[in-house]
């Protein structure tokens, strides 16, 4: 926490930990007061007792105003995180009031929210979803009778989106949420159905029993609990002579009529439905039923099997038919023969079997003939080749021909490189099929007309966009600016594989996480003081000095030997450090350091790659020490401020 004195420019600043002051020794300007101290001071009361001086600060607060800024609605500038937290708390409270939740729920939900905030899960999501998810997680873990749809109704958001956010949040925070029990909802729904104070409990008992029966009959797995409750309540109401119709119940239970009817029919298929109300209340059937979807699947399978059997039977019939057909034909033939005895020799046998034989013979003949001709051609070409030396013209052509034919005749070994070539392999692609997918000219004309009509607006927009871009380009050319390049976002290459040296590990980590520019990276690299890292440092320095313009004018980084020196250079607490960026108030730097430190700790928690453990430990050590010192500074700050304003917070009796 050192800097140059703004008045005299000297750097000899004395820091008084007890008073929480930083005073310039040459001109006497007080540079900072209200520094946070770690000493405990006691004051005497008017009654003679002594009380400790100080305030309680919550660990996630950055300034002391957190504790009473809730009622403040401050005009003062507050830290952004504070604002987020207070807004969230307010909204959680509002939502809990709408849902009639106890204060305890509000606190738990707020804790979940803080967890989510720290892990960065609130970014990019609508705050209503986050708040709703936090509240619903609390409801589920405390097994309250609130459904997801109640929360979404209160927030006026889509229930499925809320569910999605809720799932993501619960998996990211690693919270195991117990499964829903439909019995929790019965009493709540029963109250809403106006059964009268006395009968409510009787009816709900019956409904509970029904739900338990449904559970045993495997009707509840995979189904919304509210549907089951609705069905149970309809039946229970009828048991006790209340005429609650399905439409009455669905208004309370928030499911669709068809769902309720389906549950009722499913229950109707179980053997328990055959019991009378009295029997049902007293006895319990031991057998468990299969879940309805399982039963449906078995039914389908049976149907399939039956169809298959039928099909096979059909095939058998067909084959039988053909057999019979053949026999009949044969019989007819014989008869014919006997009838036309004289001219029998002229009658050629037109038996299908012999016809086939003929066809086969002809095909064979054709194949052999073609092969013969091919061989002949080859022989001819070979003969021609022998006359190469005498003839000039045809020889070259025949050579070329021959070589290609010979190549074709060769059996190519499977080319291992075909998978790597870029050329489109056309094997197995029927060209005619492809042509069938391409339109004729006439079709193209019609489609173009239609498409242009349909997409008129889009085409106009495109035209306007192009004109605008042209104009802009012309303007830029006039003004002499360079052509506007499209922003190309290159993906950051994620580091894979372990690092070989500690220095490499630090490099990788730095590449992975674009950490703040308030850290002196060179010192980080020099942590181990290894020879390998030295060369890298030099290269990095050169690169850095050429690319980064913002870097402060440095002396070459001194390779520190002790960890103390490293810490000092990192936090800038060295009193006589001229290379550090001056002119910033120590308080600012403290805050920035604290932020970078907390960012570090958050990042490290999130990091999944296993960097070198040694380096992490070293850095953590440093950061722990940083945190301590920063905390000291903060305490001193608060102490001072509090002394000024005479707050009596933290007094002990």
């Amino acid at each position: 926490m050192s800097s140059k004195c703004p008045h005299c420019g000297c750097t000899e600043i004395e820091i008084e930990p007890a008073r929480g002051d930083a005073v310039c020794t040459s001109c006497g300007t007080v540079l900072s007061d209200h520094n946070i101290v770690s000493e405990v001071q006691f004051l005497e009361n008017s009654k003679g007792g002594s009380s400790a001086v100080g305030q309680f600060i919550s660990s996630d607060a950055y300034s002391k105003r957190t504790t009473f800024s809730r009622s403040y609605h401050g005009v003062f500038s507050r830290e952004s995180k504070e604002i987020t937290l207070s807004t969230a708390r307010k909204r959680i409270k509002d939502l809990s009031e709408q849902l009639r939740l106890v204060n305890h729920f509000v606190e738990t939900s707020f804790n979940f929210f803080k967890l989510a905030l720290n892990k960065g899960l609130t970014k990019g999501r609508k705050s209503s979803f986050i708040i709703g998810s936090c509240v619903y997680i609390t409801c589920r873990t405390e097994a309250s009778h609130h459904m997801l749809i109640d929360v979404s109704d209160a927030l006026q958001v889509d229930v499925y989106e809320l569910g999605r956010t809720y799932l993501k949040l619960s998996t990211a925070l690693c919270i195991t949420i117990p499964a829903i029990d439909p019995c929790l909802y019965i009493l709540r729904f029963a109250h809403k159905l106006s059964f009268g104070d006395k009968m409510v409990h009787v009816v709900s008992d019956t409904a509970l029993r029904l739900v338990q029966r449904m559970k045993r009959d495997w009707m509840h797995t995979g189904r919304r609990p509210s549907g089951l409750c609705g069905a149970a309540l309809v039946i229970a109401a009828r048991f006790h002579n209340f005429n609650r119709t399905i439409s009455d119940v669905i208004k309370v239970v928030k499911v669709h009529e068809s769902t309720l009817r389906k549950r009722l029919t499913e229950f109707g298929e179980t053997p328990s439905s055959a019991l009378t109300p009295e029997q049902f209340m007293t006895m319990d059937l031991n057998e468990e039923q299969d879940p309805p979807s399982f039963k449906a699947a078995r039914k389908k399978e049976k149907e399939k099997e039956r169809l298959k059997l039928l099909f096979e039977q059909q095939e058998n019939l067909d084959s039988e038919l053909t057999e019979i057909q053949l026999r009949i034909e044969k019989h007819l033939e014989d008869r014919r023969k006997k009838l036309r005895g004289i001219w029998a020799k002229y009658d050629k046998e037109e038996n299908s079997y012999s016809q086939n034989k003929e066809n086969m013979a002809t095909q064979k003949f054709i194949a052999e003939a073609t092969l013969e001709t091919i061989d002949k051609c080859l022989a001819d070409s070979r003969e021609k080749e022998e006359n190469v030396n005498s003839g000039i013209g045809p020889s070259a052509a025949s050579l070329g021909l021959k070589s290609t034919i010979e190549e074709c005749m060769e059996i190519h070994p499977p080319d291992p490189q075909t998978s790597e070539t870029e050329l489109l392999d056309l094997t197995g692609i029927d060209d005619d099929e492809i042509d069938s997918y391409i339109m004729t000219d006439r079709e193209i004309k019609f489609k173009t007309e239609l498409w242009m009509k349909l997409n008129e607006e889009y085409l106009e927009e495109m035209k306007r966009k192009e004109e605008r871009e042209k104009e802009e380009a012309e303007q830029r050319a006039k003004e002499g600016k360079p052509v506007k390049q499209k922003k190309v976002y290159k993906k950051r290459q994620k580091n894979t594989g372990p690092a070989n040296t500690a220095g490499e590990a630090i490099e990788k980590m730095l590449q992975d996480k674009k950490l703040s520019n308030k850290i002196n990276y060179d010192v980080l690299r020099n942590l181990n003081g290894e020879n390998d890292s030295e060369k890298e440092d030099k290269e990095q320095l050169e690169i850095k000095s050429s690319t980064k313009v913002k870097q402060h004018p440095t002396e070459p980084v001194v390779k520190p030997e002790k960890i103390d020196l490293i810490l000092q250079s990192l936090t800038g607490k060295r009193a006589l450090d001229s290379s550090m960026e001056g002119g910033r108030s120590p308080k600012q730097r403290v805050v920035e350091d604290v932020r970078t430190v907390s960012k570090h700790s958050v990042d490290e928690k999130e990091e999944e790659d296993d960097d070198d453990d040694d380096d992490e430990e070293e850095e953590e050590e440093e950061e722990d020490m940083n945190e301590k010192e920063d905390r000291d500074a903060l305490f001193r700050l608060f102490r001072k401020r509090e002394e000024e304003n005479d707050w009596d917070e933290g007094e002990y009796d």
Binding site: T141, E142, A143, M147, L148, I149, Y160, G163, L167, S170, T171, L173, C174, I175, T176, I177, P178, A179, I180, W218, H220, T221, G222, R223, R224, P225, E288, D290, P291, S293, F294, A296, A297, E422, L423, L424, D425, L426, G428, I429, E433, I434, D435, S436, Y437, I438, M439, E443, I444, K447, T448, W451, N455, E457, Y458
Partner: protein, 216 residues
């Protein structure tokens, strides 16, 4: 009743097979139940990508091909379909293409080549660079009812079961990295695999667990 626990995503020591042996009440403690050799997951869908290697004029493709639709306001790609193998492709102006709907790896490759051939015939110098299968979906039926509540209790680090949102249990297996949707009727959907072997492996891993949560 506060019975929620906050644990790491990869859980405590009990891995996949270890947890089968722990709860006595909830299922049989026989870890050596072999997978049923008759049940083999059937592949239902394969998604693959390929780079045609040249910039394409989507308007031209859409207007010259019978089986193409192009609605630039809604989506910036041409949607093309072929009948055999029955697949759909999304063709982008950068030349990259996504092919979905095939039932086997070979079919997917053949279909992608057919699309590339169509684009070639329409006058673009299409190539076939870096064909890669991105996702495979398979399904099968174990033929017995499964107790999902028990499964979510034992394998809470891997499973997520929210009957209010989805009737099936979502099981995220770590090795191989496959997501399984397990339903009470005994049907299982496996997705997220890059090769067929991963689907088979995942099913072999889950079968003994499902058997232990069979409805008795």
């Amino acid at each position: 009743m506060q019975n929620f626990s906050i644990g790491g995503p990869h859980g405590s020591a009990s891995g996949m097979f270890g947890s089968v042996t722990s709860p006595g009440i909830l299922g049989s403690t026989n870890p050596m139940t072999p997978a049923d050799p008759d049940i083999i997951p059937k592949l239902q869908n394969i998604v693959s990508t390929v780079n045609l290697g040249c910039k394409l004029d989507l308007k031209r493709i859409a207007l010259h091909a019978r089986n193409a639709e192009f609605n630039p306001k809604r989506f910036a790609a041409v949607i093309m379909r072929i009948r055999d193998p029955r697949t759909t492709a999304l063709i982008f102006s950068s030349g990259k293409m996504v092919c979905t709907g095939a039932k086997s790896e070979e079919e997917s490759r053949l279909a992608a080549r057919k699309y590339a051939r169509i684009v070639q015939k329409l006058g673009f110098p299409a190539k076939f660079i870096e064909f890669k299968i991105q996702n495979m979906v398979g399904s099968c039926d174990v033929k017995f009812a499964i107790r999902l509540e028990g499964l979510v209790l034992t394998h809470s680090q891997f499973s997520s079961y929210e009957p209010e949102l989805f009737p099936g249990l979502i099981y995220r297996m770590v090795k191989p990295r496959v997501v399984l949707l397990i339903f009470v009727s005994g049907k299982v959907v496996l997705t997220g695999a890059k090769i067929k072997q991963e689907i088979y492996e995942a099913f072999d891993n889950i079968y003994p667990i499902l058997k232990s949560f069979k409805k008795q």
